[in-house]
């Protein structure tokens, strides 16, 4: 059978009468179209560089953003390691061993860490002398050997860098402390809190312990069902809420950024579609369906989106890895580059991909609607009457603004939905604005007239561009307005003192208002969900100077 015969057989038509079925070519057709779209992309990727770069940038920024957001917050308790619960029993408990045994029996693998405080002369802070197995099931994540070795014998110790600095210790020195001499054999650090002031001793050497903590993994419900007589237990459970919330907030910001990029992409893809108009007309003339023609642009969008998602993530991860050393210093704990909210990064990639495909959808749809003859002669689609979309645009704008108003700058879902609605509203309203501008064209000088006519003629791309510019200005304005509003509302509470220092003001004679104002201010602080630690600081206002400062 020759090839022609095979083709004829495939067509399966009687020789004389034509029969036209309803199929649209199935997978081979889609493959052919996708192949062509891919070849076109390879030929014309330079013309899509702006869209590619913006999308890549958005993904990279989101990746770095979520990485920083979820790694900057110190783990809720930096000495909990990989455990999710920590039970602390006072060392004075007469049945200490029995209670530890009961907990171990109930919860399976546990890890016991004994603590003894060491006073630091001239400071309220203490150094924690810690008896802990550096390879413990849960605690191994909280101890890392920086130099030397771990302590073995009764008179050996390894100290954390802050302790070494405080007591001017080096490996090989002997540390006279608490009536005992211990040789410093190593430098250790707590990767989860570089400021953790502790000294590690060999098992059983922190005697008598001031308190004993037991690390374990269990569910909250199971723990609540457990009772241990009348001993004063202190229980802490780990929560990941803060990190997840931070990553979610960054992802929400990333979504808004992608929205802006999406509008630019609509304009870019529209230009691209117009440049390909004749080719698409030709495709239609040789028998492509509307769906095939849409696929040309959608496949292009998908390629751009996928490429930007991959390159953006790689660039973001490389940037993240390069930034880790700086961030460790800032955050005060070691950072594992792989410890990332991968779900958020996957979401960012997916969103970038969807943004590109969605941005290509509109030009794809209009390209498929252009009559083939018009496409073949390169005539752009006739602009839609502007007023047709104006009502929908106004409604969306109103909905978006009300959502933002209801969000009170606090509820990311409402904020994101509001901004999406506003963007769509602006997109629909843009043609009206452009049509309004075009009215002035007649009296304008020739250059302006040409520009305005062109703007009106290529409505799709100019509308998207106008909406993108408006959104960018809108975001900037919103940030500026809400930042100044927040600043006006905020009360200067915290100074710039480190956490272990206190500033004490002595009230002198005269009406010093600090004390009277405090309760009021505390209430406002707690409402604005600031860290509780601020409340522990003394209230101060610039006007309540201490007496020695007053003239």
């Amino acid at each position: 059978m020759t090839v022609s015969e095979a083709v004829r057989e495939h067509a399966a038509e009687p020789a004389d009468e034509l029969e036209v079925g309803t199929g649209d070519g199935g997978a081979p057709a889609r493959r052919a179209i996708t192949r062509w779209a891919w070849r076109l992309f390879r030929r014309e990727w330079r013309q899509q560089l702006l869209v590619l770069a913006l999308l890549t940038l958005a993904v990279a920024a989101t990746t770095i953003g979520v990485a920083i957001a979820s790694n900057t917050l110190s783990p809720v308790d930096a000495t909990m390691g990989t455990a999710n619960h920590r039970v602390t029993i006072p060392g004075s408990d007469p049945n200490l061993s029995a209670h530890i045994a009961a907990i171990q029996k109930m919860f399976g693998p546990t890890e016991v860490v004994a603590h003894q405080p060491i006073a630091v002369a001239g400071s309220v802070a203490t150094v924690d002398l810690r008896d802990q197995d550096p390879k413990g099931v849960y605690g191994h994540a909280t101890v890392r050997l920086a130099a030397g070795r771990y302590p073995n014998g009764a008179d050996e110790v390894a100290v954390a860098p802050p302790v070494a600095a405080t007591f001017s210790l080096h490996i090989g020195n002997v540390w006279h402390q608490g009536g005992r001499d211990r040789r410093v054999v190593g430098l250790v650090e707590n990767p989860q809190n570089l400021l953790d002031e502790f000294a590690l001793v060999a098992p059983g050497q922190a005697i008598p312990p001031n308190e004993v903590s037991i690390l374990l993994n269990t569910t909250d419900a199971r723990f609540r069902a457990f009772h241990l007589g009348d001993v004063a237990l202190s229980v802490e459970a780990r929560s990941y809420a803060g990190q997840t919330a931070a990553a979610t907030a960054v992802l929400a910001l990333g979504t808004i950024g992608l929205l802006f990029v999406g509008l630019v992409a609509v304009a870019g893809f529209t230009v691209m579609a117009q440049r390909r108009l004749r080719a698409m007309g030709m495709l239609g003339a040789i028998g492509a369906t509307d769906r095939h023609i849409r696929l040309v642009m959608l496949a292009n969008g998908a390629v751009v989106g996928a490429l930007a998602a991959i390159v953006g993530t790689v660039v973001g991860l490389l940037g993240w890895i390069a930034f880790i050393p700086h961030l460790e210093g800032l955050a005060g704990h070691r950072i594992d580059w792989f410890h990332l909210p991968w779900w958020a990064i996957a979401m960012a990639m997916l969103l970038a991909f969807l943004t590109a495909v969605a941005a290509a959808w509109w030009p794809a749809r209009s390209a498929a609607r252009i009559p083939i003859v018009a496409a073949l002669s390169g005539r752009p689609p006739r602009p839609q009457p502007a007023h047709r979309f104006a009502a929908a645009g106004s409604a969306l704008l109103l909905v978006g603004l009300s959502l933002l108003a209801f969000a009170h700058q606090k509820r990311p879902p409402l904020i994101v939905t509001g901004i999406v609605a506003i963007t769509l509203g602006l997109l629909f309203l843009a043609p009206l604005g452009i049509a309004g501008l075009a009215v002035f064209a007649r009296r304008a000088p020739i250059a302006v007239r040409l520009a305005l006519r062109d703007l009106a003629r290529y409505q799709a791309r100019s509308g998207a561009a106008v909406a993108a510019v408006t959104l960018a200005i809108g975001i900037a304005a919103t940030v500026a307005v809400s930042a100044s509003a927040a600043e006006a509302e905020a009360v200067p509470t915290a100074g710039n003192l480190p956490t272990n220092q206190l500033l004490v003001y002595l009230a002198g004679p005269g009406p010093v208002g600090g004390g009277a104002r405090c309760p009021n201010r505390r209430r406002r602080n707690s409402r604005s969900s600031r860290p509780a630690s601020i409340n522990s600081r003394p209230c101060s206002t610039p006007r309540t100077w201490p007496p020695w400062m007053r003239r």
């Binding site: 020759t2 090839v3 022609s4 095979a6 083709v7 004829r8 495939h10 067509a11 038509e13 004389d16 009468e17 034509l18 036209v20 079925g21 309803t22 199929g23 649209d24 070519g25 199935g26 997978a27 081979p28 057709a29 493959r31 052919a32 179209i33 192949r35 062509w36 070849r39 076109l40 390879r42 030929r43 004749r278 080719a279 030709m282 495709l283 239609g284 003339a285 040789i286 028998g287 492509a288 369906t289 509307d290 095939h292 009559p371 083939i372 003859v373 073949l376």
Partner: protein
């Protein structure tokens, strides 16, 4: 036997009110399988419009168009697309091939769009190219081909598979006389294999390759005659001789 193409009282009006243009008026035309018809007429007389309506790229304002016995009016957009890729081949004056696809991929595209697997389609495309003496050009991209070669590839694409109707709008308009003749010879050869052809041309010399010449003026068919004896009549004795 049904005609491969039949136009019954076809009229086409563009625009309305003061901008109204009557591009075609009550045109009747029938083209049998194996016949090559040339359409001539002054600029703006409606030749291209006739072709786009016959090829289902545009709707007639009134009248009926039948391709292979099927009425185009009332056919869905998808069915028309399918008709085009199965039965109708187009050749335009320029810009016929899709950049980014090689010559053979261009020729095979209508088959692939119709669901033929890429390998089979490209083998059929290669066969069509070979018939037109372009077997060496299959893997070249359009911008690596000369104008004449491009038009020949376009003809190969227009007849690949089992096409019955070949519509060409000034296919040799951008070519020199030698290449123009070559294009007409290929169209003639396709018609001899049973394809019905309609070719728009301004060149009486090229029109003489056709079996019949239709003259249009202001959208009306003013004359249908056998062409003057042309070059081909020298190659083969016609039945009347």
């Amino acid at each position: 036997m049904t005609a491969a193409l039949e136009l019954r009282s076809v009229s086409k009006v563009y625009g309305d009110g003061p901008t109204e243009v009557q591009a075609l008026r009550e045109v009747n035309l029938s083209v049998e399988a194996g016949a090559l018809v040339a359409v001539m007429g002054p600029s703006g007389s409606g030749k291209s419009t006739l072709l786009t309506i016959a090829g289902s790229l545009e709707d007639a304002t009134t009248g009926e168009v039948l391709v292979g016995g099927l009425t185009l009016s009332g056919m869905s957009r998808n069915d028309r697309a399918r008709l085009r890729r199965r039965a109708i081949g187009y050749v335009f004056q320029d810009f016929n091939l899709l950049a980014g696809l090689t010559a053979v991929e261009n020729v095979a595209l209508p088959l692939e769009l119709d669901g033929v697997a890429a390998r089979t389609a490209q083998a059929a495309g290669m066969e069509a190219l070979e018939q037109l003496g372009l077997s060496d050009q299959g893997s070249r991209f359009p911008d690596q081909l000369s104008g004449g070669e491009r038009q020949r590839v376009a003809i190969a694409r227009a007849v690949v598979g089992d096409r019955r109707l070949l519509l060409a709008d000034e296919p040799s308009g951008a070519l020199d006389s030698v290449n123009g003749e070559a294009v007409m010879r290929l169209m003639r050869a396709a018609c001899r294999r049973g394809v019905a052809g309609v070719v728009v041309t301004h060149d009486a010399q090229l029109a003489s390759w056709a079996d019949r010449v239709v003259f249009l003026r202001d959208g009306r068919v003013v004359d249908q005659t056998a062409p003057p004896l042309g070059p081909e009549s020298l190659l083969e004795p016609s039945p009347s001789q």
